[in-house]
Symmetry: C2
Subunit: 227 residues, 2 copies
């Protein structure tokens, strides 16, 4: 099993969607190796005739792309490993959670760290990143990130449903971590590897949850070079 | 099966948490009768020695209170009816969704309709409602509701994860409605029975979802007197 994953200048893996998959593979105890790529490498990688997207796994020659599809693939191919999406359960509420992560974590976190993220990239990737992100945000990276000290409170306040859910146990998944945890944790690994900006107050229950997630599976998250 | 439920001056049932339970009972096809109560009746109702809270069900003499506990009770007592929480599935992500409903629907909707809700109540309940809510909001009902025309856009924007989830099918639960739908729908029934204020734009995919929910189970929601 090969996981294609992006690295920055410090060779830290920063893609939030790849962290979902990486934690999913660890959850299942499946061995895998990581193939590091830069944004600039992507066009030259043969991904079965399609442009490579991150994350992609290569399982004995079969390429599977998109974190949600990969998770379904892993549950189907490895039925004897701990499931990520409980069998018989409707996956829709988990999919809602993924959208919540997208709108309440990825969206605001991007606007808090985007310039730092650019600066953390391999110099060869910085021009591409700036051009593509400034086109999509319709602002300079500097303007996107500015004023973050004033905006971080609104971000923290928006995490209230997650905070309430963590009142029931150490993980969103309950006593044991589950794919919901990995969805949210991926967003925090994206920030951790890209920016020193403190996203969470130290007395926040979500901060304690993130510490627990950093320790999972031999400290996979904690070992990754932080910004 | 008896469901104790609050009514307003038009005898409309407005409690969002009762609507969850009502839809859950309909989902399972369980017959039930409704015992209408006013806030002012609650202290005089014998609920097994405890103060009655809404919703409470009385199932052959067994009182069960709290919507989340009721749903688990119904799944356990009636295993041959359609489940609300899929067997074997971790309920935690659904619980997260309930917290999201609490923070992204109940919270902002309350601040958009609170004065209307007061005005819709039976006159006997209005003084209690004003005193208790003004104590909890630390504002007059009028001040809580004021400026809603400017605030409704932020409310609508906050529904984005639900909007994205509804891009996959007619219900949050997928092809068929599930308890996640009833959690969200309860909040909209609370508003519909209490206030004429338009919460959703007519071209919003969530508006179309709400229309579908109003038609479920013989139009249970649509038949309820709207404000």
């Amino acid at each position: 099993m090969i996981l294609y994953d992006l690295v920055n200048a410090r060779r830290a893996h920063f893609s939030p969607n790849s962290w979902r998959v990486r934690m999913a593979l660890l959850h299942k105890g499946l061995p895998f190796e990581v193939r590091d790529v830069l944004f600039g490498d992507i066009p030259s990688i043969n991904a079965g005739g399609d442009k490579l997207t991150i994350p992609t796994i290569d399982h004995a020659g079969e390429l599977v792309t998109d974190s949600w599809a990969i998770v379904h693939y892993l549950d189907a191919e490895f039925p004897d490993t701990p499931p990520l999406i409980a069998p018989g359960a409707p996956a829709h509420v988990l999919k809602f959670f993924q959208y919540w992560v997208q709108t309440s974590l990825h969206g605001p976190i991007g606007r808090l760290i985007l310039k730092d993220l650019h600066d953390s990239l391999d110099p060869a990737d910085q021009a591409y990143f700036r051009a593509s992100r400034e086109k999509s945000y319709k602002q300079t990276l500097e303007d996107v990130q500015t004023g973050r000290e004033q905006r971080v409170d609104a971000f923290r306040k928006g995490l209230q449903p997650m905070r309430l859910a963590l009142g029931h146990g150490p993980y969103i998944g309950g006593e044991q971590p589950g794919y919901a945890d990995y969805l949210a944790f991926g967003a925090f690994m994206w920030a951790r590897t890209s920016s020193p900006f403190p996203l969470l107050a130290e007395d926040d229950i979500i901060h304690a949850w993130r510490e627990r997630c950093l320790d999972l599976y031999g400290g996979a998250g904690r070992k990754e070079p932080a910004a």
